[in-house]
């Protein structure tokens, strides 16, 4: 009886101790470049809202403005402030590794969000949280296969050469297409730097060069809509299936109008919430896998109504 009582008191202390500790959780985040595009702007807002909704979390929100040196300074600052965890949206997957190592040595867990860091830095981070670009490419390949009934000739308009996201999406798309859909041939791939006007130009040249194009795969909807515009001017949009790899508002509207087959829905809100949750799980001592991907579903005319129009 006595023993049991002691035990329950101990458990109560432990539990209250844990609650008390949770009250104190301070998380610092250093973002890449808020304000440069709508995705990052929305991400920041969502992150702050998610933190505000959780009474036990206190956040220090910083932005590197795209500057690697400033981001490294911000990480050092957060180490000095002895925050409980650091979330970093790397400005550069390579250059931030020394700063991450410093945090690791200071015993502060680091969660990398949205875009990956180089493999050399993986041992110093607690976890990565973000979209799975390879999977996104693969899902787009599946949609392409479905839309063309497994037969056809397509062109690919990729993102900026050398940018991890662009390479992973192309890789995922090409690998899955070859595996699931050998009847669909990629005639040619050209980069358009995430730029709609450039994509429009590239597509105009494709249309001149190839008399038959059955489908276009674009690294995001911004470029996909550029390609759609080019095909519309040439009067060939009706013969071509357009598929993107990140849904933008313009792509959402084009799907609504029936001009665009589909895309991948990636929400900055999900991205921000997943990052915060991953950091909290790490702090709670849960067994967190190294790679945490939030879900980025396919979006087509069939399930369009289930999703809000992206704000970007």
């Amino acid at each position: 009886m006595f023993k049991k009582k002691v035990l329950s008191v101990m458990v109560a202390t432990l539990v209250s101790g844990a609650v008390y500790a949770q009250d104190e959780v301070r998380i610092g985040i250093t973002q890449n470049n808020v304000g440069v595009d709508s995705y990052q702007t929305t991400y920041e807002k969502a992150f702050e809202e998610a933190a505000a909704a959780n009474d036990n979390v206190d956040v220090v929100v910083l932005d590197a403005g795209g500057d690697v040196a400033r981001q490294i300074g911000q990480v050092r600052n957060l180490i000095q402030q002895q925050v409980d965890a650091i979330i970093i949206w790397p400005t550069n997957g390579q250059a931030v590794i020394p700063a991450i190592r410093q945090a690791y040595n200071a015993g502060i867990p680091v969660v990398v969000t949205n875009s990956k860091i180089a493999d050399a830095g993986l041992e110093y981070i607690a976890a990565f949280s973000g979209p799975d670009n390879v999977q996104q490419g693969a899902s787009s390949a599946e949609m392409m296969c479905e839309a063309l009934d497994g037969e056809g000739q397509i062109v690919q308009i990729a993102g900026q050469p050398g940018y991890t996201t662009a390479m992973e999406r192309s890789q995922g798309f090409e690998d899955r297409l070859a595996e699931a859909c050998p009847g669909v041939e990629i005639l040619e791939t050209q980069p358009a730097d995430w730029n709609r006007e450039k994509a429009q130009r590239v597509m105009e040249n494709f249309l001149t060069k190839y008399d038959v194009i059955d489908g276009v795969y674009a690294g995001d909807d911004n470029m996909g809509v550029g390609a759609l515009n080019a095909a519309k001017s040439a009067g060939r949009a009706g013969d071509i299936v357009f598929i993107g790899a990140t849904n933008f508002a313009v792509g959402y509207e084009a799907i609504e109008r029936g001009e665009y087959y589909g895309s991948i829905y990636q929400s900055p809100v999900d991205d921000a919430e997943a990052a915060l949750q991953t950091a909290l799980d790490v702090l709670a001592g849960k067994d967190v896998p190294k790679m945490n991907f939030f879900e980025t579903p396919k979006i087509t005319a069939d399930n369009l109504a289930e999703f809000d129009k992206p704000v970007f």
């Binding site: 304000g35 980069p191 040249n205 001149t208 313009v250």
Partner: protein
């Protein structure tokens, strides 16, 4: 006898004619080079010389071409304008964003007014305050990009109901079977070429670019002339923004990034001297078209488009070298 004389005369004539042709060829090296390029590409791709492809290339080149017309005037006047890329982003974002807020007419008017104000700022700093144009316009390049980000808050802008507006005509429309961007480009090029060749104003710009000290002593108001070249440049950027915005019906914040260098490449390739005082609009037009056809030709041949960066600059350096070698030779023969 008569027939022999006749032959001799005929021979002399043809010799004279031949020398004239050679002179013409060496003087118009860029035109010859352009024709060689076209011929080479047409051998490798069937579609290259098709009418639709040529129209596509000229239409694509017209945005850079429109800006290059204005920048050529600045360069002839002895200055540089590197701010045109950011200015293009600014003006395109502005006109697209305002389109849905105050209607197309208002948007176009406000955009032209604000773009001309940026040009006036350039002109004030370079013309009246006599600051180095390279530094001023380089500073404006990043300052205006910052302005765009502040204005847009990082969001892309789009025109919501694209089928309900006539705005698209500037980028996608056709007049008498010719694309509107090509018409705007041609009109601007012709007007500015005429002004530069046949008016006192044009001669004054050449004079201040060629020898500013002598120009001032001959009573030319240099400050105003330099100022006016930046206004022309800004006006051309505004026209280009109109075409670009109407073509894409939306705009990213950095849509004009890198245009300043493409514009310069076209101008240099055309043969306008960066030192000022020499050059012409039609040369710039050909330079810009060569760039367009190289880019298109490489794409049709299946090379990734960034090979164009390499090829373009190799060709530019080659063209500048040929031009220089030619001038040296002519100078030497004249003196001997």
């Amino acid at each position: 006898m008569a027939s022999a004389e006749h032959t001799k005369q005929g021979f002399m004539l043809s010799k004279k004619h031949k020398a004239g042709l050679l002179n013409f060829l060496s003087a118009q090296g860029i035109l010859v080079f352009f024709l060689i390029c076209m011929f080479a590409f047409s051998l490798t791709s069937e579609q290259f010389l098709s009418q639709s492809n040529i129209m596509t290339v000229v239409r694509q080149a017209s945005i850079i071409g429109i800006i290059a017309v204005g920048v050529t005037v600045v360069i002839i006047g002895g200055n540089l304008d590197l701010s045109v890329g950011s200015m293009l982003s600014f003006s395109t974002v502005l006109v697209v964003d305002l389109h849905d807020k105050i209607g197309p007419v208002g948007a176009i008017l406000v955009m032209f007014a604000l773009t001309l104000m940026l040009g006036a700022l350039n002109g004030l700093l370079v013309g009246f305050m006599r600051l180095n144009s390279l530094i001023v316009t380089l500073a404006m390049l990043s300052a205006i990009q910052g302005l765009v980000l502040i204005y847009s808050g990082g969001q892309n802008v789009d025109i919501a109901n694209q089928s309900d507006t006539w705005f698209g005509v500037f980028g996608q429309g056709y007049l008498l079977g010719i694309a509107v961007p090509i018409i705007i480009f041609s009109l601007l090029a012709i007007i500015v070429q005429v002004v530069m060749s046949f008016t006192g104003y044009g001669r004054r710009i050449f004079a201040i670019g060629g020898n500013p000290v002598a120009a001032v002593y001959s009573g030319i108001r240099k400050n105003w002339c330099v100022f006016s070249t930046y206004m022309i440049s800004a006006f051309c950027v505004a026209c280009a923004a109109l075409v670009l915005g109407a073509r894409v019906m939306g705009s990213q914040n950095n849509v004009g990034q890198g245009y300043e260098l493409l514009v310069l490449a076209g101008i240099i390739l055309g043969g306008t001297s960066l030192l000022g005082g020499a050059g012409s609009i039609w040369k710039t037009v050909i330079g810009v078209l060569i760039l367009g056809f190289i880019q298109n030709g490489l794409l049709l041949m299946g090379y990734p488009y960034y090979t164009q960066w390499l090829v373009t600059w190799v060709i530019i350096i080659l063209a500048v070298w040929l031009d220089l070698a030619n001038k040296r030779k002519r100078l030497l023969t004249r003196h001997s």
